[in-house]
């Protein structure tokens, strides 16, 4: 796909879905993380199924973000880690710095909560989107630009060509999150880790982002790990849900089972605390 003779258009929609590669999953087993005597993750086992959205729910401090960051060795300095994170036959926790860097952003990409702080304020969208494509995929400037344009179209940014030359502050939060998703897709990742992707957004914008993420999963065969404390979002998007508390996964099941028939009392308390359900009790 990076042959020089190939027309620009082919560096875009058709081949970048990696039709030849099947969707890949991630298998976290026995993940333990200790930091300065505090046991932050305890024997975390999570199977992120290929081509599906796996939800990781929990309150702040439950270790859900730490678990997702650990997949790419993004834990705090001084962490004592054991267990394994298997991805395409390799244990990501055992990779060296150079090898894990090749995985980060390339095969496994991140989407963060606050889109306005995940962009450099002084660099145009084009600059930020094409930079890592040229580094990871060795594309020429024109190819990278064409690809950026194509990705912006895919995430439904109006006037994508104009958008490329704009700067982050010229976009609303929702649009910026779409651009962040486009950017995450740039290097044809197999896994996307979305950490509270809609928490900072307005509720009317949230639905659009959820739909977009669903589409990536269904149409492109991407595997998504969705980290959020919002069970409404979880119910809308996740196929399977794991619930974390105090560094442990206390319950795992299908979306329907977790939301409608939670087994663990803690999961049940989380679901009962949702405004819709509180309302039901009060009425």
């Amino acid at each position: 796909m990076s042959e020089n003779g190939t027309p620009i258009t082919s560096a875009s929609s058709d081949d970048d879905d990696g039709a030849s590669k099947g969707p890949f999953g991630v298998e976290i087993s026995g993940l333990d993380l200790e930091l300065d005597g505090r046991h932050l993750l305890r024997n975390v086992n999570l199977s992120i199924e290929p081509g599906k959205v796996t939800g990781l729910a929990g309150e702040s401090g439950s270790g859900k973000s730490l678990t997702s960051y650990s997949i790419l060795q993004l834990y705090p300095e001084g962490s004592v880690v054991s267990g394994s994170v298997m991805f395409r036959g390799r244990n990501l926790l055992a990779l060296g710095r150079r090898e894990i860097n090749a995985v980060r952003g390339r095969q496994i990409a991140f989407i963060f909560q606050d889109p306005s702080s995940s962009f450099h304020p002084m660099i145009s969208i084009k600059g930020q989107m094409t930079d890592h494509m040229r580094y990871h995929l060795h594309l020429s400037r024109r190819q990278a630009e064409a690809r950026a344009l194509d990705l912006l179209t895919r995430v439904q940014i109006p006037n994508p060509r104009e958008a490329l030359s704009k700067y982050p502050h010229q976009f609303s939060g929702g649009q910026l999150q779409r651009i962040a998703i486009a950017s995450a897709l740039a290097c044809r990742p197999e896994i996307i880790i979305a950490d509270e992707p809609t928490t900072a957004l307005d509720v009317t914008v949230q639905a659009g982002i959820l739909r977009l993420l669903r589409g990536l999963c269904d149409d492109l065969g991407l595997t998504i790990l969705l980290v959020t404390h919002d069970l409404g979002v979880m119910s809308a998007l996740a196929d399977n849900v794991a619930v974390m508390r105090e560094g442990e996964i206390i319950e795992y099941g299908t979306r329907r089972q977790i939301i409608t028939h939670p087994r663990h009392p803690y999961t049940k308390s989380l679901i009962d605390a949702l405004p819709m359900n509180v309302g039901r009790i009060h009425d």
Partner: protein, 291 residues
């Protein structure tokens, strides 16, 4: 809320948290030893000095020997005793300068930041004027026009030093005053002054005190510089700056200038090391407290 912030917080919190821990770096320890040494010298100097620093009882310009470990000066005074005695002048003078400029600068700066508008504008232009001159030159000019002497040197250095604190406190107050707890205090009927003293200033003071400590070294240097130029501590009172100057007049007698020079060096370096360590720990603390 996402835990990504929490993640960074942990990293910082565990890297280091308390002032005491900050001083446990090698440089912090070295600095701490120097500072404590000179403070002890300043307090217990009279008991420690082998001879009267003013008495001209020895032969002139004697090189260091078993009686006069640091040698004697051109009128036969013991240099070791004079170096120790100087600490009694330099340290308190530098302390007064820093303490007063922190107090005055913080108050004026805080008012400027809080009140804004014309008052802020006037204060900031005043500081601009001071910043337009190299500080030691400005201190020289003021001190020369007031006449030599310790008191005038202090006034001169105060005039030069307060603006930097005013500037820093002002910018900190600007961010703090729109903070929700400050607004909340105002909604409960706090006056501007009460808001400033209860809600705002206590939250900038730690940083300012650490900064003041770091500047203490600079103040010692400035006092010595003014004395060197004959504008600060007047002879025959011992002072490192005047001693270095005397050494200039007797160039072959290297010991006259060398030992006070080492005294200045160790004190200033010590203060800077400790100040840096405190600053680092403060940065860490701030980043752990904000979320």
């Amino acid at each position: 809320m996402s835990e990504s912030m929490g993640l960074i917080r942990w990293r910082r919190r565990f890297a280091s948290s308390k002032f005491a821990r900050a001083l446990r770096t090698p440089l912090g320890i070295i600095g701490g030893v120097f500072v404590v040494f000179w403070v002890v010298m300043a307090i217990f100097g009279p008991q420690i000095e082998p001879y009267d620093p003013l008495s001209q009882q020895f032969g002139r310009l004697q090189a260091p020997n078993s009686t006069n470990w640091f040698g004697t000066d051109q009128v036969g005074r013991d240099i070791l005793s004079r170096v120790i005695a100087s600490a009694r002048v330099s340290l308190p003078v530098a302390f007064v300068i820093v303490a007063l400029s922190v107090a005055i600068g913080s108050f004026i700066g805080a008012l400027a930041g809080y009140l804004g508008k014309a008052f802020d504008e006037i204060i900031m232009r005043l500081t601009d004027i001071v910043f337009a001159f190299p500080s030691i030159i400005l201190a020289m000019i003021i001190s020369a026009s007031l006449g030599p002497g310790v008191r005038n040197a202090i006034i001169a250095l105060l005039l030069v030093c307060w603006p930097s604190y005013a500037r820093i406190v002002r910018s900190m107050v600007l961010t703090l005053k729109s903070s929700e707890f400050v607004i909340s205090g105002r909604l409960m009927g706090r006056s501007v002054l009460s808001s400033l003293f209860v809600d705002v200033l206590p939250n900038v003071m730690t940083s300012i005190l650490v900064l003041g400590f770091t500047d203490f070294g600079g103040a010692v240097l400035m006092v010595a510089s003014l004395s060197f130029l004959g504008l600060g501590v007047l002879p025959p009172s011992p002072d490192w700056g005047t001693m270095v100057q005397e050494g200039m007049n007797n160039f072959s007698a290297w010991w006259i200038a060398l030992f006070p020079g080492i005294a200045i060096l160790t004190l200033v370096i010590g203060v800077n090391f400790v100040g840096d360590a405190l600053q680092d720990s403060l940065d860490l603390q701030n980043s752990t407290e904000r979320a």
